[in-house]
Amino acid sequence: MTDGILPAVLGRFEWQSLPFVRAWEHPNASEIVGAGAGAVVIIGAILVAALITRLGKWRYLWSEWFTSVDHKKIGIMYIVLAFVMLSRALIEGVLMRMQQATAVNSPGFIAPDHFAQLFSTHGTIMIFFMAMPFLTGLINYVMPLQIGSRDVAFPVLNSVSLWLTAAAAALVMASLVVGRFSTGGWSGYPPYTELAFSPGVGTDYWIWAVTLGSVGSTLTGINFAVTIYKMRCAGMRLMRMPLFVWTALCTSILMIFAMPPLTVATALLALDRYLDFHFFTNDLGGNMMNYANLFWLFGHPEVYILILPAFGVFSEVVSTFSSKQLYGYTSLVIATAVITVLSFTVWVHHFFTMGQAADINAAFGIATMAIGVPTGVKIYDWIWTMFLGRVRFTVPMLFSLAFMMTFVLGGFTGILLAFPPLDYLAHNTLFLVAHFHNMLIPGLLYGMLAGYHYWFPKAFGFRLDEKWGRISFGCWVLGFYLAFMPLYVLGASGMARRTQAVFEPSFRPWLYVAGIGALLLAGALASLFVQLWVSVRDRKANRVFAGDPWDGRGLEWSISAPPPEYNFAVLPQVNSRHPFHDGKRQDDPYAPPRAYEDITLPRNSMTGPAIGILAAAAAFGLVWHMWWLAIIGALAISAVVIARSFARDVEHTISADEVQRTEQRWLRAAANAAPIPRELEMTSANQGLAEVSA
C-alpha cells in the first residue's frame, strides 16, 4: 500500500497498454495494424454514438430496444451483434491469410505475438460471439412464433442472457483498445495460459469473456428448453413441432449440459491465475490433461450446438422452397436426438495424440464415425424432400444446396480424422483447420445466412434484394472453396496451424490461392451489407405486410410481417404438422376471430442491460486487477437482482380495442393484396399473400 493510490485505482494499467502508445514507440507494420484496429473501434463507437445523438434516438433505443424483453427484439439484437462480430473476425481471418501468403521465408507484416492474438480472437469471436449469438437470435425470433406462443418462458432472463453475451463481446472489443488479447487460441490450453507462461492481461480477457458468454448461453438453454416444453399452443404435440423447434430443443439441452464444463474449466483456470491454485499448472500436481477433458467435454457438444439449428433452418427452407412436406420427419427427429446424445461420447477425438491406450482411442474413434450415420440420414432426407417437389432457387435454397454438397466433403475428412492413426498425422495441422471450417462455414454460417434471408421478410416486412443476395452467395461459396481447399493440401504436407511464418517455398502457390479465397469471403460479407442497404432503400417496393411471402407452412407465416408485439391476437390451435399450410387450404386464414381480448405482456425491464454493464465492468476490473471495480460490479449485480425481485408492476396490458385495430389493419391489407403464384415470389408483385394451389 506504500506505492500510492494510482496503482490501486488503475491496477495493472500502464501507458504501454494502449496500442497507440505502442505504435508510437515502435512504429512497425504490426503495431500500426494494432493501433489502426483500436482506432477503428474507438472512432466507430464515437461515430455511432454521434449518429444516435444527432438523430435523437437514445431514448428510443433505450426504451424500445435495450430494455425490451420481447423475444423478437432480443432476437434481432443478438443477430446485429453477430454481424458486428462476424465483420471483425472475418477481417482477422483475411489478415491471417495475407500474413501467411506474404511470410514464406520472410517475416511478413504481422509480428508473431500479434498473429497469435489474431487466431485467438478470430476463433473465440467466431464461436462465442458470432455463431452463438446468431443461432440464439434466430431461435429467439422464430421458435416462439413457430410454437404459437407470445414470448419465451422467462423474458427478463432472456434479456439478461443477451446483455451478458454483449458484455462478453464488449470485453473482447475492449482488448483491442486497452491491453492485448490472449495468445492461447480459442481453446486456451494451459499450462501455456497459466501465469508462468502468459502473465499479461490477454488470458484474463479471454477467461472472463468466455465465462460471461458461457453463463449467458446456459441461461439461454434453460429458457428455450422450458419454453418449448411448456409454452406450445393447443394441439402442438411434440411430434407436430416444426423441425427447427426440434433442433432448437436439442441445442438447448446441449447448452444446458455442455456449457457448465466450460464455465468450470475457465473458472478453475482463473483460480490458478488469481489465487495461486494449481489445477492445471506444471508444478505442485497440476495437470493440464484435466483441462483438455473439461474443455472438450464442452467443445464437442458445442459443434452440435452450432450445427443443429442450421439443420433446422435447412429443414424449413428445403421443405418450403420445394413446396413439399419434409421427407422422413420422424427420421429427422430421431437423427437429431441421436446426434444430441452421441455428441457427449466423442470428446476424446480432440486429443487422440495425448498418449492414451489404443483401446480408448479406437472406442472414441468408432463413436465419432457413428455420428456420421444420423448426419448422413439428414442429408438424404433433404434430398428426398426435393424429390417430386417444385424447387425454387431462392437465396436461402441456394445456401441449402451449397451446404449439402460442401458439408459432405467436410464429413468425408471428418471420418478420416476419426481414424486415430490418421488424426496423428493431421492433428494440429492446416488439414484440421480446413476440416472444421469445412463443417462450420456450410454447417453453421450458410445455415444462419439461409435463415436470415428466409425470415428477414417476416421480421421487417420486406424482402431482401435477390440480386445482391446471389452475388453474396456466389462469393461465399467460391470464396470458401478457394480459401479452404488448399489448406487440406498444406495440412497433408505437414504445415502446422497457428504458424506466423512459413519456411517452405513449395507452399506458396497454395497460400496465394487461399489468400484470394479469403478476399472473396470478405467480398461476400461486404455484398451482404450492400444487400441490406439496397433492400432498405427499396423497401417500399418489396413489402410483404400480409406476412406469407414464401407460401410458408408453419404458424410464423400466419401473422403479419412484421408481427405485432403480441404475436398472435388469439392463441392458435393446431391439428397438423403444417398448420398454416393446411389452414390456407381448408378455410380462410385471414378471417377475423369472433372476439378480441385484452393481452397481457411482460413490461420492459432495465435488469438485463444493468446486469450486462455491471458484469462488463466487473470483468474489466478483474482483468486489470482494479479490485475496487470488480467488487463494486459484483455487489451491484447482486443489488440489481434483489431489486428486481421486489418489482411488482412487471406486466402491461394491450386492450382488446387496440388489438382489434392492429389486426384489422393487417386483415384489410391482406384482403387487398394480390395472391401470387410461386413464379413471382422473387418479384415485387409479392405482397406476402400466396396463391393457394392443391
Binding site: D113, M289, F412, P420, F503
Partner: protein
C-alpha cells in the same frame, strides 16, 4: 442454377491443382519414408476410397434432383404430400450403418497396429532416444550413447527408433510427417513414439502445438544415415569436445531457438529424469 456447374468445375480443377502442387505434398505422408508412415498412407487410401463411394451419391443426387424438380420444369410429377417410403428409409439407414461397422473393424485394427507406443517388429533392438520439447527447440538425448543434440535427430536408417518424450515447458506435439504420426510431450509425464526410416534422407520434424512467439521456428531435421555411418557420427559427436554442463542446462530454459543445431559430446546420465523432476518444483 449456376451452382451445380460451378461446383463441378471447381471439383474438377482440384486434382489438376494438386498435380501442379505436388511439390508441397512431397513433405507429407504421401511421400512416406518409413514403415509406420507407409501404413498410415495405406490407411488413408483405403478409407479415402470407401468415402468417395459414400460421398459420391450425395454429390450427384443433390444437384440432379434439385435441377430436375425445378419449378419451371413442368414435365415431372408433383406430389407435395409424399413424405415417406420404407424402402428409401432402409436405404438411407442400413448401408451407412453397414459401412460404419466395416470401417470400425478397420479402425480398431489399425489403431492398435499404429499405436505409437507399440514397438516396431524388427531384428534389431530399437535405438533409444529421449526427446524434450522446450521453448522453442527440441533436445534429443541418446542415453545409450551418452550424447545429446539440440534441433537435430540423427538416426540410422533401417533400425527402429523408440522415442520417450517429455516437455520442459508447456505442452508440445512432435510431428515428423514423413516418418510417423504425432504425440504430445507433456511436462512431468513421459509419452512414447516408435518410428523408423527405411532409407537414408533428411526429414522435417516440428512442434505443432502453439507455444509462444517462437513457435514457427521450432523445426528440426531428422537425419537418417546409412547404418554404417551412424556409429561414425556418434564417434564424431563424442569427439566434438562440448560436454553438456550446468550452463547448457540453464540454457535449455531460455526462450530461444538456436540458429544452428548443437551437438553435445557427453550428456549427464539422468538428464531426462532431471528435467521431469524440475517441473514438479514450484515456479517452473
Amino acid at each position: 442454377m449456376m451452382l451445380a456447374p460451378r461446383l463441378l468445375r471447381l471439383l474438377a480443377a482440384l486434382p489438376l491443382l494438386a498435380l501442379g502442387g505436388c511439390a508441397a505434398l512431397e513433405h507429407g505422408v504421401m511421400n512416406h519414408a518409413g514403415p509406420i508412415a507407409a501404413s498410415h498412407w495405406h490407411l488413408y487410401v483405403i478409407v479415402g476410397v470407401v468415402l468417395v463411394a459414400v460421398a459420391g451419391p450425395v454429390l450427384l443426387l443433390t444437384p440432379l434432383i434439385a435441377w430436375h424438380y425445378r419449378l419451371s420444369n413442368k414435365r415431372h410429377a408433383f406430389r407435395p404430400k409424399w413424405d415417406f417410403s420404407w424402402t428409401l428409409e432402409g436405404l438411407i439407414w442400413i448401408p451407412p450403418i453397414g459401412i460404419v461397422i466395416g470401417l470400425s473393424v478397420l479402425l480398431w485394427d489399425y489403431t492398435h497396429m499404429l499405436d505409437p507406443y507399440r514397438p516396431i517388429a524388427s531384428g534389431q533392438a530399437p535405438l533409444e532416444v529421449q526427446a524434450v520439447g522446450l521453448d522453442w527447440k527440441w533436445l534429443f538425448i541418446y542415453p545409450d550413447e551418452h550424447i545429446a543434440t539440440i534441433n537435430r535427430l540423427t538416426i540410422p536408417a533401417g533400425r527402429p527408433v523408440h522415442l520417450r518424450l517429455t516437455s520442459g515447458t508447456v505442452m508440445q506435439s512432435l510431428l515428423i510427417p514423413r516418418l510417423a504420426g504425432q504425440i504430445y510431450a507433456m511436462t512431468g509425464m513421459v509419452s512414447q513414439l516408435n518410428l523408423a526410416a527405411s532409407h537414408p534422407g533428411v526429414f522435417l520434424g516440428e512442434n505443432t502445438q502453439f507455444n509462444g512467439k517462437g513457435f514457427q521456428d521450432q523445426k528440426f531435421n531428422v537425419v537418417a544415415l546409412p547404418p554404417a555411418d551412424y556409429p561414425k557420427w556418434v564417434g564424431q559427436a563424442r569427439a566434438s569436445g562440448h560436454p553438456f554442463d550446468a550452463d547448457d542446462f540453464a540454457g535449455l530454459f531460455h526462450k530461444s531457438s538456436p540458429s544452428q543445431p548443437v551437438v553435445f559430446s557427453s550428456a549427464p546420465p539422468h538428464l531426462f529424469r532431471q528435467i521431469i523432476v524440475r517441473s514438479q518444483e514450484t515456479g517452473s
